[in-house]
């Protein structure tokens, strides 16, 4: 592999990895509140991206539409948790999986019905072409990585330094004790879903300029997001984010270098299965420390 190809693949892998990382952290947030992987996370992100496109076409500036989409995604996700997921989980925990599958189907067909189901171009807010001095790094790729870092830093600061973030961590660990100190666990779960919706929407809006927007846009991306989540540790947002980067890089480099594009998805997933056989809780799983 020539250095040019290597750099090209490295930056492509980083970009994809940053997007998988956002999605993986979204999956962890939902996992922490419902203890299920949200199969519909990708379709929700795809739908958010359509909302953004509709707002842009209605004449809003890119960043105004971006911000409005995050707000809509937050409210819609939190409402889905409160109105659909929580009541179902209370009456029949296993039915949550069915709800996720139903949400996947609903958002998929809703998007096809509301928006024309053909490949649509989606704008990037970042400079076109490559960056000066970095011939293999496009403006969009650099922007995607920067945005992902900002997102993850914001999430970290929120969990680490705010009262609400502390309460959300408490509810994820011990819902009963949380309620006994007066935290409304239900509200925290809805908040977690809202944040997941925001992260998913970011992932959708960042990948759409690369792969074009259509109702199937997130199908493959979600698979990588699952892989990233499981690889990094499903209970650990930072592990999942690192898992996203690892999956993105491996997929790009191994695909270009060793085996060609046809098998790269299979290779990446096989490698992940291998890792999970050795460390079932993921690479960065938190070691359980407790005494009795």
């Amino acid at each position: 592999m020539t250095p040019e190809v290597f750099l090209h693949q490295l930056f492509a892998g980083l970009t994809a990895g940053a997007i998988y990382a956002s999605l993986a952290v979204a999956l962890v947030m939902v996992w922490r509140s419902t203890h299920h992987l949200n199969f519909a996370q990708g379709e929700m992100a795809m739908f958010s991206t359509y909302v953004a496109l509709a707002l842009i076409e209605a004449g809003l500036g890119y960043w105004t539409a971006f911000a409005a989409t995050l707000v809509v995604s937050f409210i819609a996700s939190a409402a889905i948790e409160r109105l659909i997921v929580a009541p179902v989980a209370r009456s029949q925990p296993l039915a949550t999986v069915i709800v996720f599958v139903a949400l996947l189907a609903i958002f998929h067909s809703l998007a096809s019905w509301l928006f024309t189901p053909v490949l649509r171009e989606f704008p990037s807010p970042f400079p076109a072409g490559t960056l000066p001095g970095f011939p293999y790094l496009s403006g969009h790729a650099a922007g995607v990585v920067a945005l992902a870092l900002i997102e993850l830093a914001a999430v970290w600061l929120f969990f680490r330094f705010t009262r609400l973030g502390l309460a959300m961590r408490a509810v994820a660990q011990n819902p009963v004790s949380s309620r006994l100190v007066g935290i409304s666990a239900g509200r925290m779960l809805a908040l977690g879903w809202g944040l997941a919706g925001v992260l998913g929407a970011c992932a959708g809006m960042m990948i759409a300029p690369i792969v074009y927007l259509d109702p199937n846009m997130m199908a493959g991306v979600l698979l990588y997001g699952f892989a990233a989540t499981l690889l990094g540790g499903i209970d650990n947002p930072w592990g999942a984010a690192a898992g996203g980067l690892i999956v993105g890089l491996l997929d790009a480099l191994v695909g270009a270098w060793l085996i060609g594009p046809e098998l790269k998805l299979s290779f990446a997933l096989a490698l992940i299965v291998a890792v999970l056989l050795v460390r079932p809780a993921g690479l960065f799983a938190r070691t359980q420390v407790s005494r009795v």
């Binding site: 009262r163 502390l166 309460a167 961590r169 408490a170 660990q173 011990n174 009963v176 004790s177 949380s178 309620r179 006994l180 100190v181 007066g182 935290i183 409304s184 666990a185 938190r286 359980q288 420390v289 407790s290 005494r291 009795v292």
Partner: protein
């Protein structure tokens, strides 16, 4: 100790029945606690002691009436009952093991907004339990069992409750730690006039702390009296005091 004018009661339980699904654990319990009064709840394993605490704090559904400071608690979720001033230190302590000691204390004060008061109470907790101050930045899960129990109690007190529900505070602790813990509880009782409902296997320690006590047998309240009277009660002596 038993003031019977209804308005002087902090907690009034009347004809309480509670259980899990089809299984009824508690039947027809009537019990009251005055402000500042410490009541020990004795009984064998499976008598329903934990269920009674869980019914008061809203963790299990119950029928009958529970009034706290004159207002009904029945049907409220646990977080609302906590807001009314009931702090429940559950069986097994319920500490947030992956959070630091400091974060556990902060969560105890979740319902409060008075920063100065919270800071002062935190200092008070360090007086009651000096070890917590030494371990402030440590993950709660790395504390010893006794330290975790102290943390759980301190977390409960951080909400400035009017009633503290304690479920087996001595469970799994070495005898020396048990006496240390009960000394701290006695100080809290005296200094803060804190009403407590204490479930304990260690009847000796519980009866020394309590003003009055009651005995549960298979889900029914069989006797209630002063701590001294219960200590002399042959049923209690036989079952819990080992002679």
């Amino acid at each position: 100790m038993a003031g019977h004018a209804p308005m002087s009661e902090l907690l009034a339980i009347e004809n309480l029945t509670a259980g899990y699904g089809d299984i009824t654990v508690l039947r027809d319990i009537t019990l009251s606690i005055a402000p500042g009064q410490v009541v020990a709840l004795l009984g064998a394993n499976g008598a329903g002691k934990t269920t009674l605490l869980r019914a008061v704090s809203g963790l299990v559904e119950s029928a009958g009436a529970i009034r706290f400071a004159g207002r009904p608690l029945s049907g409220l979720p646990p977080e609302s009952i906590a807001q009314r001033g009931v702090a429940h230190v559950p069986e097994g302590r319920g500490t947030f093991v992956h959070l630091t000691v400091d974060e556990n204390l902060q969560l105890g004060a979740w319902l409060r907004r008075d920063r100065a008061g919270i800071a002062a109470d935190r200092e008070r907790m360090f007086q009651h339990f000096p070890r917590l101050k030494e371990r402030l930045r440590q993950q709660a899960g790395t504390l010893s069992g006794g330290e975790q129990q102290m943390l759980a109690i301190a977390r409960g007190l951080m909400s400035r409750p009017r009633l503290l529900l304690l479920d087996e505070p001595s469970f799994g602790l070495a005898p020396k730690l048990v006496s240390e813990l009960f000394e701290a509880l006695a100080t809290i009782r005296d200094q803060e006039q804190m009403a407590m409902l204490v479930v304990e296997q260690n009847a000796q320690a519980a009866l020394e702390l309590a003003d009055s006590a009651c005995l549960l047998e298979v889900g029914r309240l069989v006797t209630r009296g002063s701590a001294q009277a219960l200590r002399d009660d042959p049923r209690v002596q036989h079952a819990y005091l080992g002679d």
